[in-house]
Amino acid sequence: MNSRAIGPILLRLVILVLAQGLILKSISMDLGGYRHFHIILYPILIITMPFGTSRPLQLFLAFILGLLVDIFYESPGIHASAAVFTAYVRPLVLNWFEPREGYNMNHVPTREQYGLNWYLRYAGTLMFLHLFFYYSVDAFTFYYIVDIFLRTLSSFVISMGFVIMVSFIFKTKPY
């Protein structure tokens, strides 16, 4: 990864934060309050980070992303911790779903690159982990584990719809 690539990532970061904080938040509110489900789209930045991005940088970007989202949700640190966690487990998930021919370090893990089937499994796993982590930190105790699971599932279903939608609408070019 070279320094040219950081620009588009930062741009996407800003757009995603604004989309999440201004649009998706109000949609979630209108649909019945984000205690029960969330439309969460911002992890897509972590999901579609280029393979070549160094791990500390990925984590740091995820941290900034989460903090900015937290500002809109008035929940300091909660989205940030989930985002950092997602960025941390991303290499593991990538290993898990590694195709037979391996990854090209110059590529970006997207639908166009590896197909819808792969993308669903890869993005779905990360989204699920992200939401589960988020709701766990939100409850801050596993006493409400059933609640945590139910909210994770409902949010997962509706958020995945948006993730897939975005993957069809916006094209990410390989670097």
């Binding site: 791990r55 500390p56 984590l59 909660i78």
Partner: protein, 275 residues
């Protein structure tokens, strides 16, 4: 330096992850009321539990000291029970002399032990130096003379009764004022012998024997007993008068210690005369 860089490149991801999550959780706990409450109530529970366990172990180390302290406390409580009390009350009263100057003062006392079965009978009373009892003070009962203080401690005094081989008190016959020495011969607890009454003195059975007042231990005119019988020994100039005591010294419960307020003055005068 290059080692450090290599280390960071290899483990930087993990390091960064823990660092950032640490910051996140710090922010979460610091700025979110709900998570803050849960965090501190849980940590208090855990820390409290751990403290309990540690306390359970360390309390054994102080067990010895605790038992000692408890014993001390127990002793302090026991010493507050009624039966250990020593009544410190003294109602001191004084008789007036002719010139309206108090000469004798009485210290009431209870008899707490008596040994009146031998030849040298003594009793112990529960008043001592603390209450003004001094050596050689006289002890009287409500009707008669009891003895002389021969030992004084802080709270107790030993009294040599007149029923003692070495005791001799100055006694007089009330009717005519002749006086002699009253001694105990060691046979009858109710009977004493008055000696040194010259044979020209008229004596009748039933005469009252009282303290003479020549001794500075007892106030004068205190009843002791009555004349039971008298004999004049062969070739003797003095009567031997048997005196029946008014008081049964075996059955006394309380006595009075006589404090002669002028005794010091009298003693210093006597010493002056001796020199």
């Amino acid at each position: 330096m290059s080692n450090f860089l290599q280390f960071f490149l290899r483990f930087g991801g993990h390091f960064m992850f823990f660092l950032l999550e640490g910051i996140c959780f710090f922010i979460i706990i610091r700025y979110n009321d709900y998570q803050n409450r849960i965090f501190f109530s849980s940590s208090n529970t855990i820390v409290g539990y751990m403290n309990d366990r540690v306390e359970g172990v360390t309390s054994y180390f102080t067990l010895k000291r605790d038992i000692k302290a408890l014993k001390k406390e127990n002793a302090a409580l026991k010493s507050q029970l009624d039966n250990v009390y020593y009544s410190d009350e003294t109602a001191v009263d004084t008789v007036l002399d002719n010139s309206s100057q108090p000469k004798y003062s009485y210290i009431p006392a209870d008899i707490i032990s008596r040994a009146v079965l031998g030849n040298n009978n003594s009793i112990v009373i529960d008043r001592g130096a603390k209450h003004g009892v001094e050596l050689h003070m006289g002890v009287v009962s409500k009707e008669g003379v009891v003895g002389v203080v021969t030992g004084v401690s802080q709270r107790y005094s030993k009294v040599m009764t007149i029923l003692h081989r070495q005791a001799a008190i100055s006694a007089s016959i009330r009717r005519n004022g002749y006086f002699g020495s009253l001694v105990w011969k060691g046979t009858n607890y109710r009977e004493m012998t008055l000696e040194s009454i010259p044979k020209h003195v008229g004596i009748q059975i039933g005469d009252t024997i009282q303290t003479s007042g020549y001794s500075n231990k007892f106030p004068p005119d205190l009843m002791i007993g009555t004349v039971k019988s008298f004999t004049l020994g062969e070739g003797s100039n003095n009567y031997t008068i048997k005196v029946e005591l008014l008081e049964d010294l075996l059955n006394l419960d309380y006595v009075y210690v006589v404090d002669n307020l002028f005794s010091e003055e009298l003693e210093s005068l006597n010493q002056e005369g001796n020199e």
